[in-house]
């Protein structure tokens, strides 16, 4: 399609906790502007993989590149030097992350949540950060709630604030870890709508989700993971309509298609 380098590239990624190998060599690629949905049974290592992408977890083997930059390492004269904290932090600024349980800062108002990153980390001046934050809140439909504290919002509203907070850093890649699975069913739609809007605006996204409808409608690529390996990957039409692998078939039957 396009010959730009991929936004995310994972090569043979391994990760263990103690003796327990969680990721057993993950290979995948996400092109710039593409939406990839990651599905798979509980415990298959989806969250772990997502956390490796922004170096919340250190991988044991393999390489992850985001926007062609190696995550967690600096390449110099044929060697890879492990990065210092400051360098890791700089890389994370380009990667937004949205969590299952929102993880908004409860001691700050909605607006403060949004400007915390830009002002403290990017050292952006306060006025312009506030101005951008307000635009983002408008975009997720929550302009009127900027002075509220997270606890005063519904789950769906909190998750939309969390998405806006990540966007405030102007990331190149957005990671979503089951963004709707902690929500009451009637609140799922409003969050998915924001994500769909974001996908249409050209954001590169990796979404761990059990929302098959969303994956079918929005994803360019669906990856099915099980027991730390990628079992099957491809266009949503292919994965959902005629999966090749028996494990994929079994999983899709279980989640009710």
């Amino acid at each position: 399609m396009n010959n730009r380098p991929p936004m995310l590239q994972a090569q043979n990624v391994h990760k263990s906790y103690g003796r327990n190998e969680i990721l057993k060599g993950i290979d995948l690629e996400v092109a710039t502007g593409e939406v990839m949905c990651l599905i798979g049974p509980s415990g298959s290592g989806k969250s772990t993989f997502l956390r490796c992408i922004n170096h919340l977890e250190r991988i044991d083997q393999g390489r992850i590149y985001v926007d062609t930059k190696l995550i967690g390492g600096r390449i110099h004269k044929g060697r890879i030097y492990e990065q210092r904290e400051a360098e890791i932090c700089r890389q994370r600024m380009d990667i937004g992350m949205v969590f299952q349980h929102f993880n908004l800062f409860p001691h700050m108002t909605v607006l403060q949540n949004l400007i915390e990153g830009p002002v403290r980390v990017k050292k952006e001046n306060r006025e312009s950060a506030v101005e951008r934050a307000r635009k983002l809140l408008d975009r997720v439909g929550l302009k009127h709630l900027e002075a509220s504290y997270p606890k005063q919002l519904s789950g769906g509203q909190q998750q939309r604030v969390a998405i806006a907070r990540s966007l405030a850093m102007a990331p190149k890649l957005m990671l979503f870890d089951e963004p709707t699975s902690a929500l009451d069913p009637e609140l799922v739609g409003e969050v998915l709508a924001v994500m769909k809007d974001l996908a249409e605006s050209g954001m590169t996204m990796v979404v761990v989700t059990h929302e098959i409808g969303f994956a079918r409608g929005v994803a360019d690529q669906v990856v099915f993971m099980d027991e730390g390996v990628v079992v099957e990957a491809g266009a949503p039409t292919k994965i959902f309509a005629n999966p090749e692998n028996d494990r994929t078939k079994g999983f899709l039957v279980n989640v009710g298609k």
Binding site: R51, N54, L56, E85, A86, C89, R90, R92, M93, I95, G96, M97, F99, H101, N103, L104, F105, P106, H107, M108, T109, E116, G117, R120, V121, K122, Y149, P150, K151, Q152, A162, R165, S166, M169
Partner: protein, 295 residues
């Protein structure tokens, strides 16, 4: 059955009346005993505001305040050390707590005060001095109380940090914050809600413990009271004066504690109820006929 017009008979609490009467009777006995006892009440009035004692009270407050600040600073530093990935710093923090919580504060004060016996001189490279000149009663009391307090604060701060959800650190990191930034901006402010109540108790405890410093001749409230009764022999009277002052300061601190607790509770309730202080301000300004009141 239509019960709409029935009279409702409230429950009578006879037991409360009886126990209330007993307590009041006992109080009357105690007060009578003190009034009839050999206490020279005018002396109490005379010394309550005596400049010598007020200065002692000032010293008590100063040493408590400084030792508390030192304790909080040490508490935060050692709590972070205790929670770090580095086994050496973790061990060192554990050792600090073990030493200073495991020995009586009275003993620690004596050791600091008598440090000159083992280290007659202090050599900082660029500066040299005699230990007896440095280790004044004030400085010994500050080190003794502050470092001891730090050991207790470490455990309190550590508990506070651990009470903050790991997801908060993940969120802060994913925004590109360093560990230190995340600690300062995200974790500690939330830990405060858990830290403040026991910290208030520590502060009040420290205020009282500071009276131990009279043992190393630091001229705090109790020490001053003792100096006076050694001269005029009004022992009980001066002890009552000291009691009164301690109670006054503790009462003020307790109400301050409530105000601060409310402040750090912000964002923790769904329908942010106005704090006690704000309520008081609102009622007071309404009384004065101010329009609007506090909002």
């Amino acid at each position: 059955m239509n019960t709409e017009n029935y009279e409702i008979v409230p429950l009578r609490h006879y037991g409360r009346w009886v126990s209330g009467a007993v307590v009041i009777f006992l109080l009357v006995l105690i007060v009578r005993a003190f009034v009839q006892g050999q206490i020279d009440w005018p002396v109490i009035g005379e010394f309550f505001m005596a400049p010598v004692l007020i200065k002692g009270l000032g010293n008590t407050i100063i040493i408590t305040l400084l030792a508390m600040i030192m304790g909080i600073a040490l508490g935060v530093i050692f709590a972070v050390m205790r929670l770090s990935d580095n086994p050496v710093t973790r061990w060192f923090a554990g050792f600090y707590i073990w030493i200073f919580r495991g020995t009586p504060i009275y003993l620690q004060l004596l050791i600091w005060f008598n440090l000159a016996l083992v280290f007659p001189t202090v050599n900082l490279g660029f500066w040299e001095g005699r230990m007896v000149d440095i280790m004044t009663p004030f400085f010994a009391a500050l080190l003794g109380l502050g470092i001891n307090e730090g050991a207790y604060m470490t455990e309190i701060v550590r508990g506070g940090i651990l009470s903050v959800d790991q997801g908060q650190l993940d969120a802060a990191s994913s925004l590109g914050m360093t560990r230190l930034q995340a600690m300062k901006r995200i974790v500690l402010p939330q830990a405060m809600r858990v830290i403040i109540p026991p910290m208030g108790n520590e502060f009040i405890g420290l205020l009282k413990t500071s009276s131990m410093a009279s043992a190393i001749a630091y001229t705090e409230l109790l020490h001053r009271a003792q100096m006076i009764y050694f001269v005029n022999a009004k022992v009980m009277e001066l002890l009552i004066v000291a009691t009164g002052w301690y109670l006054i300061v503790v009462t003020i601190l307790s109400s301050l504690q409530t105000v601060i607790e409310n402040r750090f509770a912000k964002g923790q309730t769904r329908n942010s109820a106005p704090s006690l202080l704000r309520n008081v301000v609102r009622i007071m300004s309404a009384r004065r006929g101010m329009a609007g009141g506090a909002r």
